[in-house]
C-alpha cells in the first residue's frame, strides 16, 4: 500500500515540477519567438581548422 502512496507522491512531484518548469519558460520569454529556433541549427558558426581555413560543415 505504501509503495502506491510513494509513487503517487512522486508523480505529483514530477507533474508539479513540469508545471513549474513551464511557468518559468513562459515567464522568461521562451515562447516569445517560436519561429526563429527552427533556423537556429543553421546559425552555428563554421569551425576553423588548424590552418585557419573555414569549414562550414560542408565536405
Amino acid at each position: 500500500m505504501w509503495s502506491i502512496f510513494i509513487l503517487i507522491f512522486l508523480t505529483l512531484c514530477a507533474g508539479i515540477g513540469g508545471w513549474l518548469l513551464f511557468l518559468w519558460a513562459v515567464k522568461s520569454g521562451q515562447y516569445d519567438d517560436v519561429e526563429r529556433p527552427k533556423y537556429r541549427m543553421m546559425d552555428e558558426d563554421g569551425n576553423e581548422d588548424k590552418n585557419g581555413n573555414r569549414n562550414d560543415g560542408k565536405i
Binding site: 502506491i4 502512496f5 503517487i8 508523480t11 505529483l12 507533474g15 508539479i16 513540469g18 508545471w19 513551464f22 511557468l23 513562459v26 515562447y31 516569445d32 519567438d33 517560436v34 519561429e35 526563429r36 533556423y39 543553421m42 546559425d43 563554421g46 573555414r54 562550414d56
Partner: protein, 812 residues
C-alpha cells in the same frame, strides 16, 4: 545586363563597380552595395550569401536616419543601455542571423537578439564603448533600415493576453494530465471494485488537482459568465462555467456521500476549450501588426521652408516633426524621399510613385497645382508643396483609421457556436429545472432532486465544443496551404458562407500589375530598329514605360547613348550615333517641333489604343517621327476564365478601381465583368462595400495594394494576391500565395467546405452529450456514460475535421 552580387538587381553595365574580393571577381551596382559586401565579408559573415535563398536585400541607401527618435527609447539596464529597434527589410532567417552577428561584432555591444516574428531587435551595449548612433549606422551599413520601436498600447495588450492564455492553458493541461491518472483508476474501480480508503484518497487528489484548473484556468469563463448573466445573455462562457462548475460542486457532494465523481469532466472542458482558443489566438496575433506597419509608412519629419523666404533665392529650410506642421506651411521634398503630408505643389515638378495609395504602377507626374499625398514616394525631381491637411487628416491617416475601425468591429470568432449555445443553454437550464421539480413532485428527497438536476447540466456540457471550430479551421488551413491558399483565422471561414458578391480590384488583381509593351511599330524604319533605338535610350531611364520597352528589347544589341536627359512627366532625350533621339508623349514631341497632329492615321490608332487603357509614346530620330509604342497593363490570362467560373457559381462579380473609367471599362470588357466602379479613393472603396453589406449581401474583396486595405478589412472576407503589399497581406483574411487568380474559386469553395465541417462538428460535439441527457433526467447516469459521451464527441469532432485535409482539388 550584369547582376549585382549583393542585391541581385539587374543594372546597366556601364555603372558597374568591379572589385576583387578574396581572389574572386565581384560586380556591384553601386559603391553602397560594394561597401556592404566588403563589410559582411570582412566580418567573416560571407556565409550569408550562401544561406540566403530567395531573399533579395534592398540596394544600399544613404538616406540619413533621425537619431533623435531613437534617443527617446533608451533604457538603463545596470551599467548598460538597452533599446528596441525595429529592422525594416528583414525577410528571412538569414537576415536575422546577419543582423545579430553584425551587432554582436560591434565594439561595446554585449547583447543582440532579433525576434523573427516581430522584426524587433533588442540591443544592449556599454555606453562607454558604443552609442546609439554607432549601432544605427552599423545596421544601415548592411542595408537594413532601423526604426525606433514605439510600443503601441494595444499591441502590448495583445501580447499580454496571448501570454496569459498560454499560462492558463498550460496550467490546465499539466493538472488535467495528472488528474487523468486518478480518473482512469477510479473508472476501473467502478468495474473491478476499489477499496473505500483508496477511492477516498483518489477523490481528494482529484479535487486538489481540479481546483487550480477551475479557479485559475477557468477564471475567464467564470467572469465572462457572470458578466453575461447580468445582461441575461446566455453565452459560451456561461455554458462552460455552469458545466465545469456544476461538475465540480456535484463531485464534492458525491465525494462525501460516497457516490461517483466527475472532476475529470470539469477539468477537461476547460482544458479543451482553452486549447481551441489558443490555436485561434496564434492565427489572429499577426493582424495587429498591420497598423504598426501602416503608421511606419509616413515620415516623421519634414523640411519646412521659413514662410517669408519662399520667393527669394536665399531660402532656408528646417527639419521639424510632422506633428508641428500646420496647413498652409511650405515643405520641400527631394528625390527619393517620401512625401510627408498631403498638399499642393507650388514650385518644381517631379514624378511620384503613388502605387501604395492607388495601386497604379505607373509614376504620376506632378507639376505646379497637382496634389501630392502623404506616404507616397518622390522619384526624380525637387519640389515644394503647400500643406493642405495637418498630420491627423491625411489620406493615409484616414486609411489607418478605417482599418482600425473595421478591425475593432470584427465579429467574435465563435459566432456559429455561440448561436447554437444561445438556444442550447437556456434549454438545458430549463430541462434541469424540470428534472428537479419532477423529482420533488414524485416525492423524492430534496438533495437527490437537486443532484439529479445538476447531473443534467454536467452531462449536457460538451467538451468537444471548444475544439469544433479550431480543429476544422486547422485542417482547412492545412489543406489550403498545400494548394497555396493561406487562411488567417476562423472567423474568415464562418464569414465566407453565403457569399453573394465578389469585388475585384483592377490593378494587380485582374491585370498583371506591371506595364508591358503591348504594341509598337516603326515609321520609315523597320519595327525592330525603332524598338532598338527606344530601348537604348530607355535603358537609362527609371520610368516604368522605359522598363516595359527595355524588357521587350531583351536580346537585341543596344546602342551607346550620349547626353541622356530626362524630363519628368514628358519624355527623355539623348544622342545615338551623333543623331538626336527623343521619346515622349505628344506634347513633348510638339515642343521639339515634331508634328504629329497632321497624321490622321497615327492619331486614330493612338486614340484607339488609349481607349483600351494603354499609354502611347512616340519616338523621333534625327528630328523625324520614327515610331510609336503603346504600353499597357495587361489583363491576366486566367482572369476571364475565373470570372466566368465565379459567375457560374451564382456570384456577382464587381470591379472596383481608383483608375479612370475609360481604362477600367476597357479592362472589365476584356475580363467579362459587367459592373464597374471607377475613380474610387481607398476610403470610398470601403464605403462601397459597406453599401453592399447594408443591402444584406456578403462580400469578398480581392486586392493587393495599400489602397485596398480599408476595403479588404471592411469586406466579409478580404483576399490578398500573392505579390501584394505588406499592408494588404495583413489586412486580408486570406492570401493567394501564388500570383494566380485561379486560386480564387478554390479558396471560395474550400472555405465553404470548411464551414460545413464546422457546422457538423458543432452537431457532433453536442450529439452524444445530448443523447445521454435523458439518463441524467431519470437519475440513472452512470459515470462511464459521461466519460464515453465526452470521448466520443471529441473523437467525432477530430475525425470529422481530418476529412478536410483529404479534400483534393477534384472534389472541390
Amino acid at each position: 545586363m550584369p547582376i549585382c552580387d549583393h542585391c541581385l538587381l539587374e543594372f546597366p553595365g556601364r555603372e558597374a563597380v568591379h572589385v576583387e574580393v578574396n581572389g574572386q571577381k565581384k560586380v556591384f551596382c553601386c559603391h553602397g552595395c560594394n561597401g556592404i559586401y566588403r563589410l559582411i565579408n570582412d566580418e567573416g559573415l560571407s556565409d550569408f550569401y550562401d544561406r540566403r535563398d530567395s531573399w533579395v536585400p534592398g540596394p544600399a541607401d544613404d538616406k540619413p536616419v533621425d537619431i533623435a527618435a531613437f534617443n527617446e527609447n533608451l533604457r538603463q539596464a545596470g551599467n548598460e543601455i538597452e533599446t528596441d529597434i525595429v529592422l525594416d527589410g528583414i525577410r528571412c532567417a538569414s537576415c536575422v542571423w546577419l543582423n545579430e552577428k553584425i551587432l554582436l561584432k560591434t565594439n561595446g555591444v554585449t547583447y543582440a537578439n532579433v525576434n523573427y516574428a516581430t522584426h524587433r531587435a533588442k540591443v544592449r551595449w556599454d555606453p562607454e564603448k558604443a552609442s546609439i548612433d554607432k549601432i544605427v549606422e552599423r545596421i544601415k551599413s548592411i542595408g537594413y533600415t532601423p526604426k525606433p520601436f514605439v510600443a503601441k498600447a494595444y499591441e502590448m495588450e495583445m501580447e499580454g493576453r496571448r501570454k496569459d492564455l498560454l499560462l492558463r492553458f498550460g496550467t490546465a493541461s499539466f493538472f488535467s494530465m495528472q488528474l487523468m491518472l486518478y480518473s482512469v483508476a477510479l473508472y476501473a474501480g467502478y468495474f473491478q471494485g476499489i477499496d473505500k480508503e483508496t477511492k477516498n484518497i483518489f477523490h481528494w487528489i482529484s479535487l486538489l488537482l481540479t481546483t487550480p484548473v477551475l479557479f485559475y484556468s477557468g477564471m475567464p469563463f467564470i467572469k465572462g459568465a457572470a458578466g453575461g448573466l447580468r445582461h441575461l445573455n446566455f453565452n459560451m462562457n456561461l455554458l462552460v462555467a455552469t458545466g465545469a462548475g456544476s461538475a465540480y460542486l456535484y463531485s464534492i457532494h458525491e465525494m462525501f456521500s460516497g457516490g461517483k465523481v466527475y472532476f475529470d469532466t470539469s477539468a477537461m472542458i476547460i482544458t479543451l476549450i482553452l486549447l481551441g482558443r489558443y490555436i485561434e489566438a496564434g492565427a489572429k496575433g499577426k493582424a495587429s501588426q498591420a497598423l504598426t506597419h501602416l503608421l511606419s509608412l509616413s515620415p516623421k519629419e519634414a523640411r519646412r521652408i521659413a514662410g517669408a523666404d519662399v520667393n527669394t533665392s536665399l531660402r532656408s529650410s528646417e527639419s521639424i516633426p510632422i506633428s508641428s506642421i500646420k496647413a498652409g506651411d511650405m515643405i520641400e521634398v527631394v528625390p527619393g524621399e517620401k512625401i510627408p503630408l498631403d498638399g499642393t505643389v507650388i514650385e518644381g515638378s517631379s514624378e511620384v510613385d503613388e502605387s501604395m495609395l492607388t495601386g497604379e504602377s505607373r509614376p504620376v507626374s506632378k507639376a505646379e497645382g497637382s496634389d501630392v499625398f502623404c506616404g507616397t514616394q518622390n522619384l526624380y525631381g525637387n519640389f515644394i508643396f503647400r500643406v493642405k491637411r495637418a498630420a491627423g487628416d491625411t489620406v493615409l491617416s484616414q486609411i489607418i483609421k478605417t482599418v482600425e475601425d473595421a478591425q475593432a468591429r470584427r465579429a467574435p470568432v465563435q459566432a456559429a457556436a455561440d448561436r447554437v449555445v444561445g438556444i442550447f443553454v437556456p434549454a438545458i437550464l430549463f430541462l434541469s429545472l424540470v428534472t428537479c421539480v419532477y423529482r420533488l413532485s414524485n416525492g423524492g428527497p430534496a438533495t437527490e432532486a437537486v443532484m439529479n438536476a445538476v447531473s443534467v447540466l454536467v452531462i449536457a456540457c460538451p467538451c468537444a465544443l471548444g475544439l469544433a471550430t479550431p480543429l476544422a479551421i486547422l485542417a482547412g488551413t492545412a489543406n489550403g496551404a498545400s494548394k497555396g491558399i493561406l487562411i488567417k483565422g476562423g472567423d474568415v471561414i464562418e464569414k465566407s458562407r453565403d457569399i453573394g458578391v465578389v469585388v475585384l480590384d483592377k490593378t494587380g488583381t485582374i491585370t498583371e500589375g506591371h506595364s508591358v509593351l503591348s504594341s509598337f511599330h516603326g515609321i520609315g524604319i523597320p519595327d525592330e530598329t525603332a524598338l532598338c533605338l527606344a530601348a537604348s535610350l530607355e535603358r537609362l531611364s527609371e520610368h516604368s514605360i522605359g522598363k516595359a520597352i527595355v524588357g521587350a528589347a531583351r536580346g537585341l544589341k543596344l546602342h551607346d547613348v550620349t547626353d541622356f536627359k530626362a524630363y519628368p512627366g514628358r519624355g527623355i532625350s539623348g544622342g545615338i550615333n551623333g543623331k538626336g533621339v527623343l521619346i515622349g508623349n505628344r506634347t513633348f514631341m510638339t515642343s521639339y517641333g515634331i508634328d504629329i497632329a497632321h497624321d490622321d492615321e497615327l492619331l486614330n490608332e493612338a486614340g484607339s489604343r488609349e481607349s483600351t487603357g494603354a499609354t502611347v509614346v512616340y519616338l523621333s530620330y534625327d528630328g523625324k517621327l520614327a515610331g510609336t509604342f503603346s504600353v499597357s497593363d495587361t489583363v491576366r490570362k486566367e482572369a476571364a476564365e475565373v470570372i466566368q467560373m465565379l459567375k457560374h457559381n451564382g456570384l456577382d462579380v464587381v470591379m472596383i478601381t481608383g483608375d479612370n473609367l475609360k481604362t477600367a471599362t476597357a479592362v472589365s470588357r476584356e475580363a467579362g465583368i459587367d459592373t464597374v466602379k471607377a475613380q474610387m479613393s481607398p476610403v470610398e472603396k470601403a464605403e462601397e462595400i459597406r453599401h453592399m453589406q447594408e443591402k444584406g449581401r456578403r462580400v469578398i474583396m480581392v486586392g493587393d495594394g495599400i489602397n485596398d486595405a480599408p476595403a479588404l478589412v471592411q469586406a466579409d472576407v478580404g483576399i490578398a494576391m500573392g505579390r501584394a503589399t505588406d499592408i494588404a497581406l495583413e489586412s486580408s483574411d486570406m492570401v493567394l500565395m501564388r500570383n494566380d487568380l485561379r486560386l480564387l474559386p478554390d479558396a471560395v469553395s474550400l472555405s465553404k467546405k470548411t464551414f460545413s465541417i464546422i457546422r457538423q462538428n458543432i452537431f457532433w460535439a453536442f450529439f452524444y452529450n445530448a443523447v445521454a441527457v435523458p439518463l441524467a433526467v431519470l437519475g440513472i447516469l452512470h459515470p462511464i456514460v459521461a466519460a464515453g459521451a465526452m470521448a466520443l464527441s471529441s473523437l467525432s469532432v477530430a475525425g470529422n475535421s481530418l476529412r478536410l485535409t483529404r479534400v483534393n482539388k477534384a472534389s472541390l
